[in-house]
């Protein structure tokens, strides 16, 4: 996501997503051929296409390589603590219900240290869009084993290969109650963008897994070649199976990755249920928090 | 600690021990201009058999919130009597549910029994047994004015149940007038008919 230069005329061109990016912070921290930047670009494009009021969009990240995403988007951005992006985002959403709150963070952050928050937010069908960038390891700390590392793959803390069963993330999200579940690799730029755009237009707990194996650590430790080799691998082996049973989409080492939209079922969100319930029980006595939030102003 | 009255109220879970304590404390603190600090027991014992609340009533600020030995012991279950009965001061007042508690005679103590459960049953709602007890307590101890107690009952019970609870209170109070207790434990019991309307 560096500022691209037109090779023919040597003129600096503006990045197409520049209005949504904090260009003064570019170059970013991510390695060459890392998929995180791709996901940021897909998200920015999807936001622009969706036509939502960008002033009302908040992005929350946790800690790790993907945790830095909030810092590059020109939106209200919150770079929080490790694993707590979802509960922090819960506070934002409930504090000011009119906001579109997106959580963009990594696998270790959201389903490792933050796993409890992930399942409970899905269970509540909280109005959050969660984009999980799965790089298969802990990248920022140096390639340690993650709850997503495929069986047999090497990591810096599983030097003889991982023997723990990894999470099947779409299945985890779906069985916890997510109303929208999709998975794409960072090679599927158009589909990922479209999926994010679609999810922006929906409500409830929306989960999109973006598979983007760490080119620096995961690929090196597992002798998978360059970033380009990884792209080629996903190009050759990724399989799109919309509507697949999420029980069957687990990821094995160097096996085909099943992509697609697996769940898309609108059901009442946490706020819907809360409003309906209190309206029924308390009638006119119920005073909901206004969409613009519970801030007290001078009267 | 002059002008300080220490009270323990005990019974089994579901008898409304804490509400009884709340009403007495509220009557003193809100409706009678005194100081009253209530502490309820928490933890497993609050959910199980012997439930307890303590009150310190004083004319000055209550600095020490716990009781040491109660001046008044209100007991609505045999188990509560076994657990706390010995604490009561030598010259203290025992206020008890006479069908459920069978106290030992203690020289110097005043013992006041009331069939509060049966009286509550006669009103058609056993649940107001604790309020009958509060009325009886008001009558036999004279701790605060009856009117302060009535205000406290009114302000503490669920909306819509005020009349029933006030009736229960009056029954207890009436019973106290007829049977104010003895300086040793041998209770003469007026028949239920005598206190019925």
């Amino acid at each position: 996501m560096t500022v691209s230069t037109n090779p023919t005329v040597g003129q600096e061109m503006e990045h197409p997503s520049a209005p949504l990016l904090r260009m003064e912070r570019i170059p970013h921290v991510w390695c060459p051929s890392c998929g995180i930047g791709t996901v940021v670009k897909c998200y920015a494009t999807a936001l622009e296409r969706s036509g939502v009021d960008l002033d009302k969009v908040s992005v929350v990240s946790g800690i790790g390589c993907s945790g830095r995403v909030a810092g590059y988007l020109k939106l209200d951005g919150f770079h929080t603590t490790h694993g707590r992006a979802i509960p922090f985002a819960t506070g934002l959403k409930l504090g000011r219900p009119e906001l579109l709150v997106t959580v963009i963070s990594g696998d270790g952050d959201l389903v490792g240290i933050g796993g409890n928050h992930f399942i409970h937010a899905a269970r509540r069908n909280l109005d959050l869009l969660v984009i999980l960038i799965n790089n298969f390891i802990y990248g920022m700390t140096g390639g340690q084993n993650a709850p997503t590392t495929p069986l047999g793959a090497k990591s810096s803390t599983m030097p003889f290969g991982n023997f723990e069963t990894p999470f099947n993330l779409p299945h985890l999200a779906a069985s916890s109650g997510a109303s929208y579940v999709a998975r794409w690799t960072c090679l599927h730029i158009r589909r990922l963008t479209w999926s994010i755009e679609e999810a922006i237009g929906k409500r409830g707990f929306r989960f999109i897994e973006a598979v983007a194996p760490c080119p620096t650590l995961y690929a090196r430790l597992n002798k998978l070649g360059s970033g380009l080799d990884a792209m080629r691998f996903y190009h050759d082996t990724a399989e799109i199976r919309n509507g697949a049973d999420t029980r069957e989409v687990d990821v094995s080492f160097q096996s085909p990755i099943i992509c697609g939209k697996f769940v898309d079922e609108e059901r009442p969100t946490f706020l819907d249920l809360m409003h309906d319930h209190y309206s029924n029980r308390l009638g006119d006595g119920y005073v909901p928090m206004p969409p613009e939030g519970g801030m007290l102003h001078e009267r | 600690m002059s002008g300080r009255t220490e009270i323990r109220i005990t019974g089994f879970g579901g008898q409304g021990v804490v509400l009884a304590g709340h009403i007495i404390g509220r009557a003193c603190a809100i409706h009678a201009g005194r100081q009253a600090t209530m502490i309820q027991s928490f933890g497993p014992e609050a959910r199980g058999s012997a439930c307890s609340a303590t009150l310190v009533v004083s004319d000055r600020e209550v600095l020490y919130p716990y009781i040491q030995r109660p001046d008044i012991f209100v007991v609505m279950s045999g188990e509560g009597y076994e657990k706390y009965g010995r604490e009561l001061k030598e010259e203290g007042t025992l206020v008890f549910e006479q069908d459920l508690v069978h106290p030992r005679t203690v020289e110097g103590q005043r013992a006041c029994g009331v069939p509060s459960t049966r009286i509550a049953e006669s009103l058609g709602r056993t649940i107001v047994q604790n309020i009958v007890m509060v009325g009886f307590f008001a009558g036999v101890t004279g701790l605060v004015a009856d009117e302060a107690m009535r205000d406290a009952v009114r302000g503490s019970v669920p909306a819509g149940t005020e009349d029933l609870n006030l009736e229960a209170f009056e029954k207890g109070l009436e019973y106290a007038r007829k049977s104010p207790g003895e300086s040793s434990v041998s209770v003469s019991e007026p028949s239920l008919e005598e206190v019925s309307p």
Partner: protein
């Protein structure tokens, strides 16, 4: 500004400290609370969860205390006044995001109804062992404000003060109750809304183009923009520059930490609050707080009745600590006696502030009960010799 009458339950009530704290929060304008059940604090959120739906507030019971604290920090960035409530083990779990609140300079209130510890300890019984944790519990250097009520009435009054201080200094404020005050029912007078002064959230008046979330004029605090108003600001738990962007440098760290610490230390004279009585010609001054301060006054009365010159100082604000006053008194009194339900936390502060001019006598109690007044009197007599 004045309190919103919707949240103020004006009148005389017979309430326990936990309920009174909840009422104080609603009167102060708190409209978002996240919490997780834990004895002996749960009654605070039980009260709030019953009343919030009628006054535009949202309560959510989160999956744990980590989440509760994170949600409270997140919601504070929407401009809402926010609070979480916990005890012992839950307070430990909140430390991570209390640090985040401190670093992001997020106003919020954390209620800790202290019970006996360490670990699960005495869930239903009193303790005061979290005093140092309230100050230093999260890693790194920062300062907080902590208050300690001695009665349900103060649980109401000081909760309002806690919210106001959080706004003025943009800090997480620790509300250190104890089980005894939390579970003690007494008369609580709630005034008319008109009589309650509320510090509102002050939003920046700068345009989004000219606003930087951590740009600070000399001696001032950064201005606040809330999420969703078009400022498109960034904030982070990392060391950050005036734009709120991560900046890993010694210089930036110095700017950040010196502000987090300095905004409390430099304003300590305005924040510190204590009550004292009979200290001027005292030989011994008893220093205490929370429920222990009430019990200690009985000991002071007893010692005086024996002819001893005993003064009394009660900390209302625990952090920042009134070290100036203790140092002054240390010049004229022979000894301080510090009863507290722990093995010596504030006693160490008193000793530090006294700086060798007066002797400090702690009166330890491991927790589960309040001190017997006699135990305190005994130490006062020893200290007076």
């Amino acid at each position: 500004m004045k309190a919103d009458p919707a949240g103020v339950l004006t009148g005389s009530h017979y309430l326990d400290g936990d309920f009174a704290c909840g009422e104080g929060a609603m009167a102060a304008g708190c409209r978002f609370v996240a919490g997780y059940p834990i004895t002996p604090s749960t009654e605070v959120v039980e009260r709030i969860s019953r009343r919030f739906p009628t006054l535009g507030g949202t309560f959510i019971q989160m999956e744990d205390e980590l989440a509760s604290m994170a949600a409270v920090v997140g919601a504070a960035w929407t401009g809402s006044k926010t609070m979480t409530v916990t005890s012992g083990p839950g307070f430990s779990l909140m430390m991570e995001n209390i640090g985040l609140a401190a670093m992001m300079e997020t106003p919020c209130v954390v209620v800790n109804v202290q019970r006996g510890g360490p670990s699960t300890g005495l869930p239903t019984m009193v303790g005061q062992g979290d005093v140092m944790q309230a100050r230093w519990g999260s890693h790194g250097d920062y300062e907080v404000i902590a208050l300690s009520p001695q009665s349900p009435q103060e649980a109401f009054d000081l909760t309002i003060d806690a919210f106001n201080l959080a706004e003025i200094y943009r800090v997480p404020v620790m509300f250190l109750m104890d089980e005894c005050v939390g579970h003690m029912t007494e008369k609580v007078v709630i005034p008319e809304a008109e009589a309650i002064e509320i510090e509102p959230r002050r939003l920046t008046e700068k345009s989004p183009e000219s606003f930087d979330p951590y740009q600070v004029e000399e001696g001032q605090l950064p201005e606040f923009a809330r999420a969703g108003d078009g400022y498109r600001f960034h904030t982070t738990g990392l060391t950050h520059d005036e734009h709120g962007y991560p900046e890993m440098s010694v210089e930036c760290q110095e700017v950040n930490v010196s502000r987090l610490v300095g905004k409390i230390r430099d304003n300590a004279d305005s924040i510190v609050r204590f009550e004292e009585e009979g200290v001027e010609d005292a030989d011994v001054v008893v220093v205490s707080y929370g429920i222990t301060a009430r019990v200690a006054r009985l000991a002071v009365e007893e010692a005086r009745s024996q002819g001893l010159k005993v003064g009394f100082l009660r900390l209302v604000v625990i952090w920042p600590f009134p070290e100036k006053r203790i140092r002054e008194l240390a010049g004229s009194v022979g000894a301080f006696v510090v009863p507290e339900i722990n093995y010596g936390q504030i006693a160490l502060e008193v000793e530090r502030a006294a700086a060798g001019q007066a002797v400090t006598w702690p009166v330890h109690h491991a927790g589960g009960a309040v001190h017997s007044p006699d135990a305190i009197t005994e130490i006062i007599i020893k200290a007076a010799v």
